[in-house]
C-alpha cells in the first residue's frame, strides 16, 4: 500500500465535516477507540485478577461469570485479552515511533539535499527491503533474546525505510512549489524550510502510513509472540494465548477463538481508520477510487 507523491493539502475547516461523513473513518475510529479504552481500563480494573491461578476452574466454557471462558490455568480470558491489548498497542506504537523518528528525518533530508545523500539513502533502503522482514524479525528476537523490547526493535527497524520513502516522496513533490521557493528566496535554509513548510504539509501522508504500519505492527507482534519471541509470560499477549490454545484446540476451541478475534477486530479497525483518513485527507486519491 503505497501513497502517491503528489497531493494537495486540504484546508483544515473541511476536514472534520468530511471525516464525520466518511463511513470507513467513523467505523475505524469507533473500533480503535474501543480497543484503546479496553487497554486503558485494564490498568484500573479487569473482571478477574489474572495473576491468581485457579486450576480447579481451568478451561471452562463460556458462562456469565467468565463470558469468554477460562484458560488452561484457570485465568479469565476476557481479563487476559484486556491486558494483552496493552502489550499489542505498546509494541506497535513504539515500533511506529521508531520508524517515524528515524525514517522521516532521513527521508526529508534526502529530499532536501538530493544528489549523493539521496542516492545513498535509497540504496540503503533497497538493502533493508531486500531482507525478508518476518524472518529477520524472528532472527533478531531469537538472537538478542525474546521479549517485548526486542520485538519492538525488530518490527521498528522495518518501519524506518517505509517512512523514509513516504517522507522523501512527499517532500520531493513540495520542493518545486511556489511557497517553498518563496521561503528559499527569503533566505531560509534547508532545515528551516523542512521544519516550517515541508513537514506540516506531509503530516497527513505520514499519519495515514502510520495507521497502516500500526496495524501491520499488531499482526507482526502477534506472530512473534506466537513463536514465543514476544512478551514473556506471565505478561499476557494475544499471540502467546493463541500458541497456548493450539494444543488444546480439540478440547477447548474457545481458547483460540477470542484472542484471534481480538487481533482481527483491532487490525480491521486500524485499517478502516487508515483508509478513511486517506480519503478525507487526500482528495486526489479519493477521486480516483
Amino acid at each position: 500500500m503505497s501513497l502517491d507523491s503528489t497531493f494537495t493539502p486540504v484546508p483544515e475547516r473541511h476536514v472534520l465535516a468530511k471525516a464525520l461523513a466518511n463511513r470507513s473513518f467513523l467505523v475505524g475510529l469507533v473500533i480503535t477507540g474501543l480497543v484503546a479504552a479496553m487497554a486503558l481500563v485494564s490498568f484500573f480494573w479487569t473482571p478477574y485478577d489474572i495473576t491468581r491461578l485457579a486450576v480447579a476452574e481451568r478451561m471452562q466454557g463460556l458462562s456469565l461469570a467468565h463470558p469468554f471462558g477460562t484458560d488452561h490455568m484457570g485465568r479469565d480470558i476476557l481479563s487476559m485479552i484486556m491486558i494483552g491489548a496493552r502489550n499489542s498497542i505498546a509494541v506497535a506504537i513504539v515500533a511506529v515511533g521508531i520508524g517515524m523518528g528515524l525514517g522521516v528525518p532521513l527521508g526529508a533530508l534526502a529530499a532536501a539535499r538530493g544528489g549523493w545523500a539521496d542516492e545513498a539513502l535509497m540504496r540503503v533502503n533497497d538493502v533493508v527491503f531486500a531482507f525478508p522482514a518476518l524472518l529477520t524479525a524472528v532472527m533478531i528476537t531469537a538472537i538478542f533474546g525474546p521479549g517485548a523490547v526486542n520485538a519492538i526493535i525488530a518490527i521498528g527497524i522495518f518501519n524506518v525505510p517505509v517512512f523514509a520513502r513516504v517522507a522523501r516522496a512527499g517532500a520531493l513533490s513540495l520542493w518545486p512549489r511556489e511557497f517553498v521557493l518563496a521561503a528559499r528566496a527569503a533566505g531560509k535554509g534547508a532545515v528551516l524550510i523542512t521544519v516550517e513548510h515541508i513537514l506540516p504539509n506531509i503530516a497527513s501522508l505520514l499519519l495515514v502510513q502510520g495507521t497502516i504500519q500500526f496495524a501491520l505492527g499488531i499482526l507482526a507482534e502477534a506472530g512473534l509472540s506466537y513463536l514465543g519471541l514476544g512478551a514473556q509470560p506471565p505478561m499476557p499477549s494475544w499471540g502467546r494465548m493463541l500458541f497456548d490454545a493450539q494444543t488444546r484446540m480439540a478440547v477447548a476451541p474457545h481458547l483460540a477463538l477470542f484472542p484471534g478475534l481480538a487481533i482481527v477486530i483491532t487490525v480491521l479497525g486500524l485499517n478502516l481508520l487508515g483508509d478513511g483518513l486517506r480519503d478525507v485527507l487526500d482528495p486526489r486519491i479519493r477521486r480516483e477510487r
Binding site: L134, L135, M249, I263, V267, L268, N271, E288
Partner: protein
Amino acid sequence: MTAFVLKRLAVGLLTLLAASLVVFFVLEVLPGDPARIMLGMNASPEALHALRTEMGLDRPVALRYLDWLFGMARGDFGRSYTYSSPVLALVAERLAVSLPLALMALALSTAIAIPVGIYAAARHGRPSDTLAMGLAQVGVAIPNFWFAMLLVYVFAVGLRLLPAGGFSGWGVGLDGLWQGVKALLLPAVSLALPQAAILARVTRSAMLEVLGEDYIRTARAKGLPRRKVLWRHGLRNAMIPVLTILGLQFAFLLAGTIIIENVFYLPGLGRLVFQAISQRDLIVVEGVVMLLVAAIVLINLLVDICYAVVDPRLRSSR
C-alpha cells in the same frame, strides 16, 4: 535497454554485497561460541581448540568473511555444524516443502483474487463491490496462523478430511503426490487468504484506474462485449501493479512461511532457520538468509525489467 538492465544488475549485486556484510557481521558479534555450543559445557580445552581450528574460528574475522563470500560466489555455502552436511543440500531438501507450498499458496490466491478484483471493479459502487471489498478488509486483518488453527479445527479435528500437520515427503507415484499435496493444502490455504485479500484490493483499484481510460470507452463504443473489454483491454493494462504485488508476495511466501511451518510442523526453510538460530548453527542461518535476499533481489529485478519491457518510458526515469 541493455544499459538499463546492466545498471539494475549492478545495483542488485551491490545490494547483495551490502546484505552479506550485514548478515555476517551481525551474526559474528553474537555471544556464544559455536564450537563450545556443539561440544557442550564439559568439553576439554584441547578438543575445543581442535574444533575451533577445524571450523576456522581461530582465523581473523575479515579473512573468514572473504572466504565465506568467495565460497558463495563459487556455489559453496559451507557445511552445517549440527547436521554435518553441506548447507546447499539442506536448503534443497527443505525447498522440496517450501517451494511447492509457496507456489500452491500463490496459485490459490491469484485464482481467487484476480476474478474478485475485476468483478468488484466492474460493479464499482454497487452492493456486490462493497461486500467483496468488505470481505477483503476482514481478510487483510486475519493473522494467517490463526486462520490456520481454525482450518485445522474444522478440517482435521472436526471433519477428519485432511492431516493436522506433519509432512512425510513426496511419495512415489500419483498416490504419493496426493499425500504430499494433502499435507500442504491447509497450510497453502491459510497463507493464501490474507494474500488474496491484498491482491483483490490492488487488482480492483488498478482496474478502476484503467477502466476510466479513453481506449476502454472506444472499445465499448465499437461494440465489443463488456466481458471482452474487461479481460482483454482492462486486465492487460492493469497488470503492472498486480505483477508488482505478485512478485512481492512470492518473495514473502518463500521466507514468510516460518510461522505457518510451525503451526503445521512442516520441515520447510523457515523451520530450518529457526532451529539453526537456536543451535547457533550460524553458517546455515547466514547461507539461507543470503539465498532469500538473493531471491528477493532477483524477483525485484525481474519485475523492474518487466516494467521496462511494458512501458519504455520507465527505462530512462530510474
